[in-house]
Symmetry: C2
């Protein structure tokens, strides 16, 4: 049955909510994580009998006195322990029948992070939390599969048009690391020499004049992303394209 204290969608009918949340309006977070060159998404396992065994996006109800993004951060941390990341609004989903028994509109937020940099802690109302491979998603509640599909489409588009991938790498990285990142997100193979030329011609990377350490082969040059150059270029009409 419904549980007043849970911030997840773990309720049936009728909606039985604390007085300080906005009814009919929820948040769902899509946290994409790159884990060993594989793209995953952060999901929580449901506890209530109604959805036993099913998984869901970490989300829940918005309080009357909190801004949308603040709610997204709070809910994400409460359910998964994940914090210190940048959530961006994705889209609002409100199909009449997306939620059983009640009309609930949900605002989706998303982020792209490096999975190994975060430790997961399942919240009270979550049976489990884990990174799940995008290519083998478990059974999801409501329209969460649809939301994830939309998020994937958006992510693949963004990654080609904004240099968001650089966030996933350490400050100093090799060109092959960068390439592996794009190959994982775009789920494709890229030609090494061509990728290198394309990136270098953008003038967004500054060489560190250092080489990789401790690799059993020729060490690659290290580069760092020059965000100032990027700011400057975008103002001049430059558009990032991969």
């Amino acid at each position: 049955m419904s549980n007043i204290t849970t911030p997840t969608h773990s309720h049936v009918e009728p909606l039985n909510l604390p007085q300080d949340v906005i009814k009919a309006l929820s948040i769902d977070n899509l946290v994409f994580g790159l884990d060993n060159d594989e793209l995953k998404i952060l999901l929580v396992k449901q506890t209530d009998p109604m959805h036993q065994g099913k998984w869901a996006l970490p989300g829940g109800w918005i309080r009357y006195d909190e801004n949308l993004r603040d709610a997204a951060y709070r809910l994400l941390e409460e359910l998964t322990g994940v914090k210190q990341l940048y959530l961006e609004q994705l889209k609002t989903f409100g199909r009449v029948d997306r939620f059983p028994t009640e009309r609930v509109v949900t605002i989706a937020y998303y982020a792209l992070v490096s999975a190994e940099h975060y430790s997961l802690v399942a919240g009270q109302s979550a049976a489990d939390v884990s990174w799940q491979s995008i290519n083998a998603l478990p059974e999801l509640i409501y329209d969460h599969a649809e939301i994830i599909a939309h998020g994937m489409k958006f992510l693949r588009h963004q990654v080609c048009h904004q240099p968001i991938g650089f966030n996933l790498l350490p400050e100093k990285f090799t060109l092959l690391q960068l390439q592996a990142l794009y190959e994982a997100i775009l789920d494709t193979k890229l030609d090494k020499p061509n990728f290198r030329r394309k990136i270098m011609k953008m003038n967004l990377l500054t060489p560190c004049n250092e080489k990789q350490q401790g690799v059993p082969h020729r060490a690659a040059n290290l580069y760092r992303f020059d965000s100032d150059a990027y700011e400057h270029l975008t103002e001049s009409g430059f558009s990032f394209e991969i």
Copy 2:
């Protein structure tokens, strides 16, 4: 005081709404119109004493049994008489204090149309409806100025990456009309043969097998935008670029 029948934000405190709408959740439409090479936006003048003289985006409350976009279409037509256009979701705005006295989150939809193709009819709860120049906006209620600013930024980006410009033309148009449109929006000159080839190669236009009428020179072929082809191409990873 509040007015039960109005779908606009013409209420003070407390919210007094018909039972069949979702409380704390509204729609606002940004309808951008190109009017003689000037960009304008469709606004409605408020009737209630609280906001007398101020203008607002056409919007209002969502019914329990209608999808978000359907609500956007209904509200737009009820308030302005404008219909038969394509509304796309822009962003959801939910700052805690964006609305006085109550927490109201609003979902913004937007469209880009040719202003002269639409006749405006002020709805019951609107004192006036008109196209207002983007560069000289009147005083707006709540955070509508902020929403418009965001919409403008988004529009300028979208025009280059999505074929939204086609909406500004009649159903059947010549390639030169299309070119003139982009030259106006992008404020640049384009080469006629090259523009023609670029557009035609996208396979987004279907020839009407008709020619222009009543022009004092050789008549150009008429084309129409093939939205089905566009849908199909985007799914195959095609990206529109001008």
